[in-house]
Amino acid sequence: MTTTYAESRWMGGACPFEAGWKKVMMWVFIIGDALLFAGFLTGYGYGRTMSADWPQAGEVFNLGLIGLMTFVLISSSATMAAAVATVSSDRAKAARFVWMTVVGGLVFLGLQAYEWSHLIGAGGRPWENPWGAALFGSYFFLITGFHGTHVLIGVLINVATAIRTRKGVTSAENVEMAGLYWHFVDLVWVFIFTLFYLI
């Protein structure tokens, strides 16, 4: 216990990153999960570069809807950051911020379900679509589906976090870990939004 942070740096000491094990493990998970999405997006870039008839995003997607989804997700990330910042001083307030984040996540999922049902109704499938290269549908459903699943899991984590924060049975550190996951989901959307919908 006498080992100081500075001495243990990179030497396998008790605390090489000067952060708790939960935070370090959360970042290790985020690195891995980020590289999973990097793999998907690289695959998408590969498929798109070699396809001659990749559809125009503006002709397929309702960009106003995508803008609303982006607004909702960024806002929910801000309320989660506020929850993490207030949890040590005011648990009831922090729980309210987490509930606001949950609402944001649910609205995002609802809008995505609407987008999916609209595109499926228009003939979009993972193996074919009426707009151009078949790979377009494959990557669209794979990437937005994986991201949507992350959002759904985040909503469940946040519901548990909100209830446990209100009851006072979870630590401030755990709220911060839930926050890290939620911000990561928002971070991935920034990349999907730019690379898939705009470029």
């Binding site: 740096r9 990153f17 000067e18 801000a78 950051a81 506020a82 001083s89 926050g179 990349f191």
Partner: protein, 104 residues
């Protein structure tokens, strides 16, 4: 007490506002008829700026130790770019090959 608490939340609301402004600018640029290369370049810069704000401020990475910052940034950006860099060359080759077929 409540003043310092309000001040500590201010950074998050300001970050939120900057993220929304950047997103709005991206949407606006999308409606313009910009040269393709310039458009993609500006979008990538805006994307990385947003990612840095979310990672640095919302996820507090800017306040972590340099060891953790370097580990996260090098692993995600380094391996991500390596993955992309190694495949894009082949994708471009196939693209040119297909172009040749269509021109014929």
């Amino acid at each position: 007490m409540s003043d310092s608490k309000a001040a500590s939340l201010g950074i998050y609301w300001r970050t939120w506002a900057v993220l929304l402004v950047l997103t709005t600018i991206m949407f606006f640029l999308d409606t313009l008829d910009m040269p393709r290369g310039l458009f993609v370049g500006v979008m990538l810069v805006a994307m990385m700026t947003k990612a840095t704000l979310i990672g640095g401020i919302f996820m507090h990475l800017a306040k972590e130790s340099m060891d953790l910052i370097v580990t996260v940034v090098v692993c995600v950006m380094g391996f991500g770019l390596l993955l992309f860099g190694l495949t894009v060359v082949d994708a471009a080759r196939i693209h040119d090959m297909l172009q040749g077929i269509f021109v014929r």
